[in-house]
């Protein structure tokens, strides 16, 4: 820790700003680009102050043109720069999927390794703010599906900073999935050289009865569930994979082999989702240690409702996890 940033709790938002600023100071090839990120400080204020500090050449406001500026970023990365592209929300990344899937993820592979694409695509996702069905996506599974991408989804300010720095220094394209519900979350962060490596899960709480795997905002939902379960004498182990490409299956499987029970939580939809994919890995790795089928908790398999009560009902809540854990353990599930 070389600055005073360390012990002072900062918000998830500010942790991301620190990572950007420090990496831009460290490496002149790093630049940021996106809609409203300069003069407006970004829709979620993650790039606040960067325009003043680094100027218009390194803090680039773009038109509303996701496919265009994502492609621009891919090209800049191929040419040797390290672009950090902000897509205002994951919902708008859908417009840039061709650039992401067909170019960012493929070019290094298709041209014999001659042109790595060290781009970072930051985007917040998640629901819970009554933004309607079109603006409430959790598309983590979409990106995790694609070989050639790396996918990080920080749940804490510490990881937001450490993972973003790792992403910027990584030579592969990284999809960096933030969560709108976490920007105000406060916590300690590391210094300029404290990186959080990809492919290393974090154990957020230890327990012996059941392993609960959750990422991003769902980590906090799982921890709330852990408190409720502890009151009933059930201790769950909460593990945050932090990245899905690469996935730290070892840490997950080691825990599941010890508890013999697992529940995977994911804010995305159930079909072919993160929970389904992680469960499949665990069935392969832990089949002979499992004492019950792996539970899966997802958002309801519907377009996200707008009405607050329906939206909350559709999202995974602590009580959903409590029920899934009790059910997996064969205990009586309250009606």
């Amino acid at each position: 820790m070389t600055t005073g940033d360390g012990p002072r709790p900062v918000t998830y938002r500010e942790a991301l700003t620190q990572a950007l600023r420090e990496e831009m100071q460290r490496d002149p090839d790093v630049f940021v680009m996106g809609e409203d990120i300069g003069r407006f400080d970004g829709a979620f204020k993650v790039t606040r102050g960067l325009l003043d500090e680094f100027g218009e050449r390194r803090v680039v406001d773009t038109p509303i043109s996701e496919a265009g500026f994502t492609g621009l970023g891919v090209g800049a990365a191929m040419a040797g720069l390290r672009p950090v592209v902000e897509i205002m929300t994951v919902n708008f990344a859908i417009l840039a999927m061709d650039q992401i899937v067909n170019n960012a993820a493929k070019i290094h592979y298709m041209f014999g390794g001659q042109a790595p694409v060290p781009i970072v695509l930051r985007m917040p996702g998640g629901a819970g703010h009554q933004l309607g069905a079109q603006h409430s996506h959790s598309l983590d599974a979409w990106f995790t599906h694609i070989p050639g991408l790396k996918v990080a989804c920080p749940s804490t300010p510490h990881d937001a900073k450490g993972l973003l720095k790792t992403a910027i220094r990584d030579d592969d394209p990284v999809i960096f999935l933030e969560n709108e519900g976490l920007y105000a979350k406060k916590g300690p962060v590391g210094g300029p050289d404290d990186l959080v490596p990809f492919g290393h899960a974090a154990v957020r709480r230890t327990g012996t009865h059941c392993t609960v795997i959750a990422h991003s905002r769902m980590v906090w939902v799982a921890l709330a569930a852990a408190d409720l379960l502890a009151a009933q004498g059930v201790e769950i182990e909460v593990i945050d994979p932090r990245t899905f490409r690469p996935l730290d299956l070892d840490t997950l499987a080691t825990s599941v082999r010890r508890t013999s029970h697992a529940v995977v939580v994911d804010e995305g939809w159930p079909e072919c989702g993160i929970a389904a994919g992680v469960s499949a890995h665990l069935y392969d790795a832990c089949f002979d240690w499992l004492d019950a089928p792996i539970g899966r908790i997802n958002s309801a398999d519907v377009p996200m409702p707008y009405a607050r009560n329906l939206e909350q009902a559709a999202l995974p809540q602590p009580d959903d996890i409590v029920r899934a854990v009790l059910s997996t353990l064969g205990r009586e599930v309250p009606r």
Binding site: P270, F287, W289, A292, N298
Partner: protein, 448 residues
């Protein structure tokens, strides 16, 4: 083919138990006919057949299934074999598109079902996405239906439980599953391994009479720690409940054990410690001798027959951690008192250690149970079915008794014989108990 699912019979019902199929596999059923009795959280209800046809059972009697789980199929056109049902995918169903829609691949499909040309004039062969015009593949059939198939053919078992059982060489057929849907889970295997004697008890038990459910916790019942019964405790609970149906009665009498105490003192001189009889060992011997003289006391009722056993095997109740077992002294009438003493000691020790073989827990024709060591003067025991009688032994203590018109102090013990009145009548029970008392009051007779 009509699929019959576990119906939701109340607002709160989440699962139901098949109590009874009123029709058998292969029977022809008609729509509206009473087909199955289902136990819900509220009540038992009869469910009618949803269609005409031939019944194919999926769920067996006793199975507990979630609402919406397949329980039977009704085949309208006889002949075709029942098709496997895709497992219910409750929260995550994929629409299957219907018969005429091609499977969506993202590639437009020409009317003739071939792949179109992509791009301008460049023909790209994409054989892997050519869509056969017809049968839409049944979407996502993850696994064949959970077929709670022909009895005993597959026991739902968690992989972990199966693994532990395999390593311990434990036959899962003998393990009772307490997990969801009756799945054998780790705890069940561990219980079975910890209580080997209980495992064998699981011979195809006749359809156990329904045990009244435990009282539903009411608001006045304080919350507390919940511990599942061990397999042993479950077995005891079941058998005690069954025994409650026996019309029993009890006869009691006091036995003067002054001479017995003296005999025990004398035997100390002659026998090594592990062969010296306790009072209970002498009671076992007396009971065995009395049964040999009156073997009908040890009859068992089988249908409308009384079966008089050939051997006099006496069960001895032994308290073990978390329960009670009844190891058996075989042919106790032909064993000497020191032999019985040594054997009972060994059975009790191994019983507490969970080391008894199944055969050592089976075949008793009458049982002896003793709470004298706990300071109990007298008690009435529950008959250990299918036996017809059990002798409860209280403590032997000095008491004032009247002898020849004078109050004197004698050592006295109370015996209580509980008997199945369908097999044993009052006079017989009294005579039998009198004979046991007589033998105990003349201990030399026990040593012949």
């Amino acid at each position: 083919m009509t699929q019959m699912l576990m119906p939701k019979l109340s607002d709160t019902m989440e699962e139901g138990t098949i109590l009874q199929w009123m029709k058998a596999e292969g029977d022809h059923v008609t729509k509206g006919e009473a087909l199955v009795e289902v136990e819900t959280d509220k009540a038992n209800m009869v469910v009618d057949s949803p269609a005409d046809g031939v019944l194919h059972l999926i769920a067996a009697e006793g199975d507990t299934l979630d609402v919406g789980a397949p329980i039977a199929q009704i085949e309208e056109s006889p002949g075709a074999p029942p098709t496997p049902v895709p497992a219910a995918v409750p929260s995550a169903s994929i629409p299957d598109g219907g018969a005429d829609e091609p499977v969506a691949t993202g590639i437009p499909v020409a009317d003739d079902g071939t792949s179109p040309v992509i791009g301008d004039a460049v023909t790209m062969e994409l054989p892997q996405v050519s869509v056969p015009p017809q049968p839409p593949a049944p979407v996502a059939p993850p696994a064949p239906a959970p077929q709670p198939a022909p009895e005993g053919s597959r026991i739902p078992t968690s992989p972990l439980a199966r693994n532990i059982a395999a390593r311990a060489d434990l036959d899962l057929a003998a393990v009772h599953g307490t997990g969801p849907g009756g799945r054998i889970v780790k705890a069940d295997v561990e219980t079975a391994l910890a209580h080997p004697e209980v495992v064998v008890d699981q011979t195809p038990t006749p359809p156990a009479p329904p045990i009244p459910p435990p009282p539903v916790p009411t608001a006045s019942w304080p919350a507390g720690r919940r511990t599942p019964l061990t397999r042993l405790q479950q077995t005891i609970a079941r058998r005690m409940t069954e025994a409650h149906a026996i019309p029993d009665f009890t006869v009691e009498r006091d036995v003067d054990t002054t001479a017995l105490a003296a005999a025990r003192a004398d035997l100390r001189v002659a026998l090594p410690e592990d062969r010296r009889p306790s009072v209970n060992d002498l009671v076992v011997r007396a009971v065995a001798m009395a049964v040999r003289e009156r073997p009908d006391l040890a009859s068992r009722l089988e249908g409308d027959d009384l079966v008089v056993p050939d051997g006099v095997h006496v069960g001895v109740a032994v308290s073990v951690p978390g329960g009670l077992i009844v190891p058996v002294v075989r042919d106790a009438d032909r064993k000497s008192v020191p032999d019985i003493a040594e054997e009972v000691r060994d059975l009790a020790r191994r019983g507490r250690a969970g080391d008894l073989r199944p055969a050592e827990l089976e075949g008793s024709v009458i049982s002896v149970t003793n709470l004298g060591m706990f300071g109990i003067d007298r008690f009435h025991a529950v008959i250990n079915a299918p036996e017809a009688a059990i002798l409860a032994v209280g403590r032997a203590v000095p008491r004032p008794v009247v002898v020849d018109g004078h109050v004197v102090v004698r050592e006295v013990m109370t015996l209580s014989l509980s008997a199945d009145h369908r097999v044993i009548y009052g006079a017989e029970a009294a005579t039998f108990l009198g004979r046991v008392a007589e033998l105990l009051e003349h201990p030399a007779a026990l040593l012949v």
